[in-house]
């Protein structure tokens, strides 16, 4: 079959580039490690200035609570300052993430129960640290009037206990599906249409255009080799990801097979889409620009790093037609939850329809003449 000869040519050529093969598996894993460790860390040692203008029993109680937090969870590092103005300046200059002001009549108000207030001023240019400080201070303030925390809980009070349905999953482990999607995307960008672009750039496409190869042979043959390479690469990234994060595949053989199927289908869809866009390009520079752009618009709204639910309306609308979103959703279900076919049915339907449309147009728009 002629199309398979095209595939064979691509595979053989790819096998002569071992550096590319290693890099293509290595890069998504490096990405996994870096993103996994950049976003998941708990906040520690946030510098907080405290100005005590009260020096009463309850202001001391507040400071004790803060010191307890400093020793315990190490979320904050507190520094006592006497000058309120200077404290504000130091926050402005970035030496502290916030300043806590205990006003002069705080203890008195607390004793009289007349709405005692503490001022907390945070550097909201760093919203994540600011939120962190606000959270822990507001959590601890109810205990100001309590000398000790009762061991026995109040039976009348409703208890809230979160239950995790699945085995505990660290943030970096939850990124494994994202790393695979990234590997798929990368794979589709240096196989498939890209090899045709390189042929044109090197001027060697003329050699097969004068053979009986049909348009279909060239498109299908090139895409098959792309799917094979991309699937193998993504599989290696999956193994590497599991090894690095210590995650174990949640499902059995059937989930695993579904996973491989999802990877291949996603690769096929993306390869076809890129074929439409790059089918007529003849310079690798164009590929660089287009791929950089596509990577950003498909990857970040895919839910791979942050939930799709957080996106604003317009971006969520785009995300609804983003194939990577469905790939991520399906792979999260298969890898992290071990779900079966029913859970990913909609994802597969979307990906299949997307792939069919893209493949159709890839074949139509490809030009066989010079």
């Amino acid at each position: 079959m002629r199309a398979l000869a095209v595939t064979e040519r691509d595979l053989r050529r790819f096998s002569r580039n071992p550096v590319l093969m290693i890099a293509s598996v290595f890069l998504p894993l490096v990405y996994l490690i870096i993103i996994g460790n950049s976003f998941q860390g708990e906040l520690k040692h946030l510098p907080l200035a405290v100005v005590d203008q009260d020096s009463g029993p309850y202001s001391r109680r507040v400071i004790e609570l803060l010191q307890a937090m400093q020793e315990g969870s190490r979320t904050i590092d507190i520094t006592m300052l006497s000058d309120q103005k200077q404290a504000f300046k130091l926050v402005k200059d970035g030496f502290y993430k916030g300043v806590l002001i205990i006003p002069p009549k705080f203890s008195e108000d607390t004793i009289k129960n007349v709405n005692p207030q503490i001022g907390l001023f945070v550097d909201n240019t760093d919203s994540i640290s600011a939120n962190g400080i606000v959270n822990i201070i507001s959590r601890s303030m109810p205990y100001v009037k309590t000398e000790y925390v009762s061991v026995r809980a109040d039976r009348a009070k409703a208890q809230f206990r979160p239950v995790e349905l699945f085995k505990k999953i660290d943030y970096d482990a939850s990124l494994v599906p994202g790393a695979i999607v990234m590997a798929i995307f990368m794979g589709t960008t240096f196989t498939g249409a890209f090899s045709l672009v390189m042929d044109k750039f090197l001027g060697i496409h003329e050699s097969y255009l004068s053979t009986p190869l049909t348009k279909m042979d060239i498109v299908i043959g090139t895409i098959i080799s792309g799917v094979l390479i991309t699937t193998i690469m993504s599989f290696l990234v999956l193994l590497g990801g599991l090894f690095i994060t210590g995650l174990k595949l949640a499902g059995g053989v059937s989930s695993f097979l579904l996973l491989i199927f999802t990877i291949s289908l996603t690769a096929l869809g993306l390869l076809s889409m890129i074929f439409i866009i790059l089918g007529r390009a003849d310079h690798p520079r164009i590929v660089g620009v287009v791929i950089g752009f596509l990577n950003v618009i498909f990857y970040f709204p895919s839910g791979a790093v942050y939930p799709v639910e957080s996106l604003p309306g317009w971006l969520r609308a785009f995300s609804a037609v983003n194939p990577e979103r469905y790939a991520v959703h399906a792979m999260k279900a298969l890898i992290l939850k071990g779900s079966g076919a029913a859970a990913i049915q909609n994802d597969i339907i979307f990906l299949a329809v997307f792939t069919a449309i893209m493949l159709f147009f890839a074949t139509i728009t490809f030009k066989r003449t010079m």
Partner: protein, 336 residues
């Protein structure tokens, strides 16, 4: 008798230039046909039309009786193409290049491998067949590409500037190779070149194309005869005037005289016989011969006769100013 190639009133227009302008000719089966022309004359465009890589604006072209526009698939099965640019895969070995190419033509494995063995032997690459083409010299790569063009035993082989950029040794090897193939098979070869020596040595018939038109078509011998004289005596004289030119033209044994700056080119049938009379005449006119060169008329002279000496302003390649030369250039006329 059937023609290997039949071209009737082929025109190929690009927005800014007519690359092929109403060309008509035929090529007989067997033998080597040469298409000569300066850069930008329309050779490659014509080859691309004949190899179904480009559609003509109008006109008709047939290969072995199959129309290149109506039956491109049939035409492709009958032709082998060695294009001007090196088009073998550097990342593959010679063997793989040929094997995969053979598969494009649906050749069964046994037949494919037998032909490959034979061709690799013929082009002298048998010992290097398992090496990557990236390690090959230009001449080796070209020989491989000729082998590749022959893998499916085509009826007609197109060679677009087969020896361009090669050293004289590699060129000789390729000429030998083509002669060998021609003597062993019934293959017809359609060759373009602007090396006149190449056309002279290899081709039975030669067409000269310039500005998209065929300006001469015949055997090299006949073409040389057609411009008059066989030998050229080139002289630098101490003086040159219209009267002297007139005197030379009136001499019986001189076929033609042309003048360029201070030198004259005298076309005669036999230089050895003409020389004494010429020298005698100049002595009589009291004109000194400052420099003298005799050369046999070559195809080069024919070529210059028909195409002139001016260097061609080649059509500048267009590119899109917004994205630079990397734009898809497949719009008609973007690449001539």
């Amino acid at each position: 008798m059937a023609y290997a190639v039949e071209v009737k009133n082929i025109i190929k227009k690009f927005p800014s230039v007519v690359a092929v302008n109403d060309v008509t000719f035929t090529v007989d089966e067997g033998g080597i046909f040469g298409l000569l022309g300066p850069n930008g004359a329309g050779k490659t465009t014509l080859i691309r039309i004949l190899t179904c890589l480009m559609k003509p604006t109008s006109g008709e072209a047939k290969i072995r009786g199959f129309d290149v526009v109506k039956h491109p698939a049939r035409v492709r099965r009958n032709i082998g193409v060695v294009s001007q640019a090196m088009t073998s895969d550097l990342d593959l070995t010679a063997w793989e290049n040929l094997d995969i190419y053979g598969k494009y033509f649906d050749m069964p494995r046994k037949e494919r491998h037998e032909t490959m063995e034979y061709l690799l032997e013929t082009v002298g690459l048998k010992d290097r067949a398992r090496d990557l083409v990236a390690t090959y010299s230009g001449g080796m790569r070209r020989r491989l590409e000729i082998a590749r063009g022959l893998i499916h035993k085509p009826y007609l082989l197109f060679l677009d500037e087969p020896t361009i950029g090669l050293d004289p040794q590699s060129r000789l090897v390729i000429w030998e190779l083509l002669r060998k193939i021609r003597s062993e098979t019934k293959l017809t070869v359609f060759l373009t070149t602007h090396y006149m020596e190449e056309a002279d040595k290899l081709c039975e018939r030669v067409a000269i194309i310039d500005y998209g038109k065929i300006v001469a078509l015949d055997s090299p011998v006949e073409l040389k005869r057609s411009i008059g004289g066989f030998d050229i005596i080139e002289l630098s004289l101490s003086e040159l005037s219209p009267a002297i030119m007139e005197r030379l033209r009136s001499m019986k044994f001189i076929k033609n005289v042309t003048e360029k700056e201070s030198s004259v080119r005298i076309y005669v049938e036999d230089a050895a016989k003409a020389m004494p009379a010429l020298i005698e005449e100049f002595k009589r006119l009291n004109i000194a011969i400052l420099n003298l060169a005799v050369h046999e008329q070559s195809l080069e002279d024919v070529f210059i006769h028909y195409t002139g000496k001016s260097i061609r302003e080649e059509e500048a390649q267009k590119f899109n100013p917004f994205v630079g030369p990397g734009l898809p250039r497949q719009m008609p006329g973007m690449r001539v």
